[in-house]
Subunit: 184 residues, 2 copies
Amino acid sequence: MVVLASRSPQRRAILEQLGVRFTTAIPDVEEVTSGEPGDLVADNALRKARAVEGDCVLGVDTAVVLDGVAYGKPGDRTEAGEWLRRLSGRRHEVWSGIALRSGARERVATAMTRVHFRPLEPSEIRWYVATNEWRERAGGYAIQGRGSALVERVEGDFWNVVGLPVRELVRLAPELVIGRSELD
Amino acid sequence: MVVLASRSPQRRAILEQLGVRFTTAIPDVEEVTSGEPGDLVADNALRKARAVEGDCVLGVDTAVVLDGVAYGKPGDRTEAGEWLRRLSGRRHEVWSGIALRSGARERVATAMTRVHFRPLEPSEIRWYVATNEWRERAGGYAIQGRGSALVERVEGDFWNVVGLPVRELVRLAPELVIGRSELD
């Protein structure tokens, strides 16, 4: 049984689809906001994994990166619209750090997925902002929701964009996923 | 309101996440099983769209293609395991055809996404076959379920692999998706 140190419903859903047995706890940490994307998300993931009690704790951090700048969550509708205009017709990167703390042992990995947005009309941006789906989403969109209509293609681990890099989780801790034989 | 000519719960889920208003009907068609992948899935999508009553009908067909051979659904556990051994450590293609019939007007498009499987251990293949998740799945895996643990990366429209190419749906019929302002 692993403890997911996150409040994200998307991360919970990914662990559920994999059949991982887990509980959740919300980490109270000060997050790093600057630095190289890979270092930043790895550092934040480790801080989260260390901030929660448990024999086996999983911390995850995700950042949307465009032109070397990391985007967190938009503060309001205006900012959400402005970010979509920047992402429109371009390719950006989604980075995740994943940290698994088992007793004194800590394993950390990162993943990067490229996401290509299609060119968006102003009316499409107004539509998406009005859905309110951008709230609480890194980069201001949800690729597993209405936001899928904004995307041209992805390259890499799709689940990393949703919020948890499945390929890296399986690499770090196959025992959490492989071997559970019955679908729940 | 569109009629989805499909029994697939995955296709229903994708239309729901997009906020498309739809009903479903199960098409009774004889499917084409040979030919170029793009022609095959386009032809089958159109047959499905024509086989169901409605003012606006959406037909979709998906095929997994490895070395030019289209794979449907595995017939039993042995076949499911054999197919996973073939897919292991390699890149395959997932093709979808999408056909939208509105009165006398028919619009058809195709999409292709590349999926790279990581190299799988025999024990991992046994595990996945035992989950039974391969049943009723083209190619014998579900990328949005336990099968996500088998995948190294994707290139293209992820939702095409789940069963409905969102990018092509939005291109063919933006009015079905864009403009609905409130999340249900």
